[in-house]
């Protein structure tokens, strides 16, 4: 409450002093955006980077100069800038099978982002449903569900993802299973954050009022509680994408995600390729930088989204 007041005082102070009686206008959308951007300049840069990555992922076919899977052993391990077949150039060099590193990097963007976002969608929606139900029901149901979530959370993320993916054997080495497995590992955390929010919202007067007039449980959950936990859910979503991308890359790195011919950043760094990195360091630098910058951008963007949606947390973590 106190924070809301500081916000509004700050806004009032920005009004022209000469017209104290002017009716307060609602700031336009553009204005709101500009203010948010001024408050979170790093977030804006991160958002632009994420936008660039999204464009790269969507338009990979047009942006990649070469086919990411076409091999040409006579062009193996060429340094960045060297000429390839038919007048092409290996902008970032070529790998041990003569494939263009730059094109593989671009196609890898697609897999990283697609799996990252899909997994977080699964994890957040799963966590939202579990958290809503568990938090609202309370009592024994809540205790039971939370104990299960606790034991899931105690298993290291990467181990749980490995179990889910690898349990399926070679059939599990596909993108849908990878996304589902990573999404599952994210449910416990999303559940925990959203449930604690549900607990406070469920005590509010309007929920009690809805109960008093005899609204059904589903109606209360989806019309009265859900809208009020959306900001928290968005925060969970935006702060989880980075982790999901790292998990995907780690699985690919261990050879447990996308099958080999597909270009993934984790796969480009794999142990089998390490022997070539000594003579061809671009094989290490390109995917490592791409992966780190992407995760960094998503983490910064997540922090900014959190700060904007929940000013109480500003400057934390």
């Amino acid at each position: 409450m106190a924070l809301a007041q500081t916000e509004s005082t700050r806004f009032r102070r920005a009004q022209p002093l000469a017209v104290p009686s002017a009716p307060s206008r609602r700031p336009s959308r553009l204005n709101t955006f500009a203010r948010a951007a001024r408050r979170e300049p790093v977030g804006v840069i991160a958002a632009l980077l994420v936008l660039l990555l999204l464009v790269t992922a969507v338009f990979a076919e047009w942006l990649a100069p070469q086919d990411p899977t076409s091999q040409a052993l006579r062009f193996a391990l060429r340094p960045p800038g060297s000429p390839g077949a038919n007048g092409t150039t290996f902008l970032l060099g070529s790998d041990s099978l003569g494939r263009d590193v730059f094109s593989r990097l671009i196609y890898g963007t697609r897999i990283s982002l697609a799996i990252g976002v899909a997994a977080v969608l699964i994890g957040t929606i799963g966590g939202l449903l579990v958290g809503l139900f568990s938090g609202y029901r309370g009592g024994r149901t809540d205790t039971l569900i939370q104990r299960i979530m606790d034991s899931l959370q105690a298993i290291p993320t990467i181990v749980l993802a490995m179990l889910l993916v690898a349990g399926l054997g070679p059939a599990g080495r596909n993108l849908a299973v990878t996304a589902l497995a990573i999404g599952t590992t994210q449910i416990p955390r999303a559940n925990r954050v959203i449930r604690s929010n549900v607990l406070t919202v469920a005590r509010e007067d309007y929920v009690q009022a809805a109960k008093a007039v005899g609204a059904s449980e589903l109606r209360i959950l989806f019309f009265h509680i859900l809208p009020n936990v959306i900001p928290t859910t968005l925060i969970v979503f935006s702060t989880s994408v980075g982790t999901a991308i790292v998990t995907e890359a780690t699985l690919s790195f261990l050879g447990l995600a996308a099958p080999p011919p597909l270009a993934t950043w984790g796969g480009m760094l794999t142990i089998q390729g390490r022997q070539f990195m000594v003579t061809a360091p671009w094989l290490l630098i390109a995917p490592a930088v791409a992966l780190s910058v992407t995760v960094l951008a998503f983490n910064f963007l997540g922090d900014s989204v959190r700060d904007l949606l929940d000013p109480r947390l500003r400057g934390r973590r």
Partner: protein, 327 residues
Amino acid sequence: MDSRSHGAAVLSYVLSRLLSSVPALIGGSAIIFFSLRILAPVDLIEQSLSEGAAAADPVLKAQLRHEFGLDLPLPLQYLNWLWGALRGDLGSSWMSNRPVVDNIMQALPVSLEITFVALGLALLIGIPMGVLSAVHHNTWLDYLLRLIAVVGLSIPSFVVATVLLVTPSILWGWSPPVGYKTPWENLPTHVVQMLLPLAALSVGVAAVQVRILRSTLLDVLRNEYVRTGRAKGLPERVVISRHALKNCLIPVITLLGTQVSFTLGGSVVLENIFSLPGLGRLTLMAIDKGDFPQLQANILYLLLIYIVMNLAVDLSYGWLDPRIRYR
């Protein structure tokens, strides 16, 4: 409260916590058991008999299935396993035919060493960085340290590990000695072998510590007792280290408890990169071969380590803040 009754209180607290973690262990193992058996199309019997004439013999197959208890309904199979586990018999590995516990006991010291030393290193790096960042807050030093922290947080540990492994190789043609040595066999070799994985793992943990410590310390520094300390002329060093820092340690230690899971997961990946014979490599091999008893036991141990570490964290609260009492 005198010290003896306090000791008894702590003991009964530890016992009740351990007892209350039993459902979590059973729940966790049940989740793993059922999801593995239901998800996995890998059939050990089919797999091991896939070559040779025996593959076609249905009688032999049924006999083997019966021997392994695989012909029972799933819930019964789980109860069988649980009953064995309660008696300390977790079964034998399908892969090596040795009791799974023997394999784990061989691998556990490596993983525990990586996990605990990495956590310790992370505190050694993270606490000074966090303090500097908070004390000099909103200066270039603060921005630099925060940038380092967020970068350290964003680079996956396997990338750090690969860079650490390949760079000396490119620059000086040096790579860590192959063939794992225990500290008793060859201490210098052991230290060199552990150095890179520990560095790779502690970076990420320290980064999170810096961020939490900075924000907590900033909150604490606004307190009355800090102002009092300064007002009575205590040197800033004493105010920070004695008065402020000690009150920041609870969130830092709490975070450390949750990071055990992250560190254990990280050690799984790093053991594979650096070929260290720990629990992580055992787990990945078991996954690869569909070795359920081994996998099941490994997860149980991972859960146990997590539970014990978090109990230790809760106990440390009483030491850090004497107002906290255990009930």
